[in-house]
Symmetry: C2
Subunit: 347 residues, 2 copies
DNA sequence: TTATGCCGGGACAAATGGCGTCCCATAGGA
DNA sequence: TCCTATGGGACGCCATTTGTCCCGGCATAA
């Protein structure tokens, strides 16, 4: 049944809208019957005519009865309402989650993908696809896209179907590499994405965990300088978010640096910058590439999965508004949990 | 899972159409890839633009890839195609059955209801609802409806939701009663229906298994005569179909009459007329009411469930065209079986 | 009894978006 | 090299949906 629902969400997502309104009408009628068409429309904030059309449908199906005193559920209607309950919960849970989160965070569009990416690798693929779907909606001819690194971003790149993309897209990395494995470096991912998008790429090809002096010298190299300029002008940014533990494991971070980070309360990493749980930038590794403040004015798509990323996401995401956020169910639930707790404390 | 599908069919029937076209595109692409939009459109007999819209959707979802050589399934597309297969089979099986039967029989609209009404009484209720749904579509202000008797017709009456019906409907029985139990007599059902439809009724209130002479006298009674006239002018007829065994069990049919019927090859009964399996009328009990030939020019809805009714349905239904036929799954499958066998013999 | 307010349903103009149908540049195969 | 089938753009049309009225009915309160 679970497979069924997800299958349906993929192949016929428009039914969600349909079910939503029909179910909410049934529910409302169930609780407030007999109730008039107009009252229904007001309380559901659905246009009168739409309510009317749906009522007509429901009446045809024999689920509601319409009399001069208002709309009532028939026996069939009561049954279908009960049955539909669990179904809609399944099918619409994410949509509700997404709506709640969108109200909570400064993000235009939030997509919640079923499952937990830490338990099922396929979930990351789904997240990748979700990102690509969003990218398809916003990308335009001649765009410059800055892509970050990380295992999730690898799946984003893989999820690109090379067909029907605008022309003259340039993909650049968000920053240099940080001593990670080649496959998950921003550079590699930018190359991969550019190929699949049918566009061009420019990469730094330089590690940026060098000595600060070396870095400032490299930055002035004409080729590097030009690319860094390009990165700054990117209209679209796609990036993952890291937790402290992850970064420590993945990168060659010296012991004392790690201790510093911990003492500063760092919980999230983005572009080599570290943030505490309130979103304050507490540390950064000297590097070249995008800075968090550069995100302003860009369309930013953030992506991360797993309950452990929830705290990091909140830290990183609250400061700057974003175009879209793609997370998995585990992360979404965790975020809701944290935020709810926060609210209780606050009240 | 089964409940799921039937739930969906009830609450959002429009998705069937959607799934149908999307699935058939996926299937066609799967087998003929790469294939062009136009070829696809021609071979599926779907308008070019519709194919295009769906392809666009499928591309957005990442299921197909579109290149200059045509449309191809992506890996995701192949997976979804496989998964969708069994789902669509479930969801659309009846639709396919219905289409096949509609091509086979002279009936405008055939509705197949899930299940076997002989095993699960709830199925009969579903059939009743289906009949009512059809009735809603065709009934008009001032109509005269002739309703037959039988247990299935009882469910039809019960399924009527008294709301939103046209005005000035008159319900009459198809014929007098035949010594059956009161509840399943055409008279009682006409009364029940009329009440729920918010209309009026006229009933015969006379058993018609009387001596032929008595009958011909009664027919000339002014009140009876008038009602019989009314019955003849009915625009809509709703009736069940009986098998020989059923009739023998239900009515007080004398032994010798039954033997006559058997020897004549009677397998079906309608309005007190008996038919052999090729649809020839072989016998009739003297009675008053509708005759089979009166059906011409009327909108007739026939309803029957159970595999045992298949033969009777075929006999009764083939001779005169009908507006609609409502059967259960068991009857539908049996009909297909009989017809297929017939075809093989014929070829 | 009468007045009032909410009820459903009919009606209809406006708008939306899907649909049908072209054309065109192009790429890949003959 | 040409030709055919490809996708995609464009555009006008039409059907359906949508937004808004209004009307008559019915129930309830005065």
């Amino acid at each position: 049944m679970d497979r069924f629902v997800s299958l349906q969400r993929k192949i016929a997502p428009e039914i969600a809208r349909l079910l939503d309104i029909r179910y909410s009408i049934l529910r409302h009628v169930h609780f407030y019957q007999p109730i008039g068409r107009r009252t229904l429309s007001q309380q559901l904030t659905v246009k009168e005519r739409a309510v009317r059309s749906e009522l007509e449908f429901l009446r045809r199906q024999g689920f509601v009865s319409v009399s001069s005193s208002g709309v009532t559920l028939t026996q069939d209607g009561e049954v279908i309402f009960q049955e539909l309950g669990q179904y809609v919960r399944e099918l619409r849970e994410f949509a509700r989650l997404e709506q709640l989160l969108e109200r909570l965070l400064p993000i235009r569009k939030i997509v919640v993908v079923a499952g937990d990416s830490r338990r099922d690798p396929a979930v990351k693929k789904d997240m990748g696809r979700a990102v690509v779907r969003i990218l398809r909606e916003i990308v335009e001819d001649g765009d410059i896209i800055a892509a970050g690194g990380g295992t999730t971003m690898v799946e984003v790149a893989k999820a690109i179907v090379p067909s029907g993309w605008p022309k003259h897209i340039t993909v650049v990395p968000t920053r240099g590499s940080l001593g990670e494995e080649v496959e998950i470096q921003a550079d590699s991912i930018a190359v991969e994405m550019a190929k699949l998008l049918g566009g061009t790429y420019r990469v730094l090809n330089v590690p940026d965990d060098l000595h600060p002096e070396t870095i400032s010298r490299i930055i002035n190299e004409p080729r590097i300088k030009e690319i860094l300029e390009l990165i700054k002008t990117a209209r679209i940014v796609i990036h993952g978010v890291g937790t402290l533990e992850e970064m420590v494991k993945r990168r060659n971070i010296p012991r004392e640096e790690m201790e510093t980070l911990e003492s500063l309360g760092a919980v999230a990493e983005m572009f080599g910058y570290y943030f505490d749980k309130d979103g304050n930038m507490v540390y950064y590794t000297p590097s070249m590439g995008i800075r968090p403040e550069d995100l302003q004015g860009k369309k930013t798509i953030s992506v991360a999965g797993g309950a452990n990323k929830a705290q990091a996401l909140l830290a990183v995401v609250k400061r700057y508004s974003r175009e879209a956020l793609v997370i998995d169910e585990a992360a979404a639930l965790k975020i809701m949990e944290i935020e709810d707790r926060g609210k209780e404390k606050w009240q």
